[in-house]
């Protein structure tokens, strides 16, 4: 890329300066942002739980869910968290090649997850579940869709990191940006941990009033 500006100019400018608390501002901002995201996903999950089992027409969750399939997706996303921290370890050791490899692996696992979600949505749609079929469709697609968008944004950030690293646009110590993207990525993962349990695993048996 022709955009090579000196690295000292600081793609994470200001981080080197002393801050009042001694904590880097970007990291502080990231944690406050993630705290605020808790309330965002909390509201979506609340909506899902509130409307659980009140759909008046099918298809119901039990009709469409393919638990083994989604379980594989969950493993994939969980594994991507592991590869993400491996990228961080590599970045901390200034092992640029390994760092890029792990970041790419993480992005690929993320893509697998999102691809799986697209496939799942398509399959459900063909089984007759759309956004407006019933409240299950409404709440399911919006909650998991929001999560999917978050994963997609994460993939974009991961690929950008790889691209910037390849273009020599990251500071020599790339651990900080990798750590920041990692925080976001793991957050998306923990949201999925909750969604997987609340949406897929907890049964809506015949005891739930419809």
């Amino acid at each position: 890329m022709a955009l090579a500006i000196d690295k000292d100019g600081g793609s994470h400018g200001g981080e080197e300066h002393q801050t009042t608390t001694g904590l880097p501002s970007t990291k502080l901002a990231m944690w406050i942002f993630l705290a605020s995201e808790c309330l965002l996903f909390g509201a979506l999950i609340t909506t899902y739980v509130l409307y659980r089992g009140v759909s008046k027409t099918g298809p119901y969750p039990g009709d469409v869910f393919d638990i083994p399939y989604t379980s594989v997706s969950s493993f994939v996303l969980l594994a991507s968290s592991l590869t993400m921290v491996m990228a961080l370890v590599a970045a901390q050791k200034r092992d640029v090649v390994r760092m890029r490899l792990w970041l790419l692996t993480t992005a690929l696992l993320g893509l697998t997850f999102v691809g799986g979600q697209v496939y799942e949505f398509t399959a459900f749609y063909h089984e007759g579940l759309s956004l407006s079929t019933n409240l299950f469709g409404t709440t399911f697609y919006v909650l998991t869709g929001f999560h999917g968008v978050h994963v997609t944004v994460g993939i974009l950030m991961l690929l950008s990191l790889v691209g910037m690293s390849a273009a020599d646009r990251l500071p020599d110590d790339a651990a900080f940006p990798v750590e920041m993207v990692g925080l976001y990525w793991h957050f998306v993962d923990i949201v999925w941990i909750i969604i997987f349990t609340v949406v897929y695993l907890i049964p809506t048996g015949p005891d739930v009033v419809r």
Binding site: L23, C38, T46, F187, I190
Partner: protein, 119 residues
């Protein structure tokens, strides 16, 4: 009037919250690759347990708390190790817990007011 001022000076002069005492406290190093992999394996096992529950016929009053317990353990493991809150400055954790606790409390109250429960 001047009295009040000087009293304030004393009180506030003694107390300096910008004191970087916490920042100077030694941080534990981020975990090693080995430790990350160990956590990863534990997470995989827990997920396998969750999925297994789908195939076992358990009473929902046992199953649901168990599933929530497992999800909580996974959640906490990722936050403490992968997001290394356990090893970082406590103030990050404070902000995050603030959001998390607020979300949990508010939304629980909303669900209770609707009498919407999972069981």
């Amino acid at each position: 009037m001047a009295d009040t001022e000087s009293r304030f000076q004393e009180e506030l002069g003694a107390e300096d919250l910008a004191d970087p005492r916490e920042a100077l406290a030694p941080h534990r190093e981020h975990p090693s690759a080995k430790e990350y992999i160990r956590i990863g394996v534990i997470l995989a096992v827990l997920t396998a347990l969750e999925v297994a529950s789908y195939y076992v016929d358990v009473n929902t009053s046992v199953l649901i708390p168990t599933l929530f317990g497992l999800a909580l353990v996974k959640f906490v493991l990722v936050v403490l190790w992968f997001m290394h809150l356990r090893f970082d400055d406590r103030r990050y954790a404070r902000f995050f817990v603030m959001g998390l606790a607020l979300a949990a409390t508010l939304y629980l109250i909303v669900l209770i007011s609707f009498r919407a429960f999972l069981v």
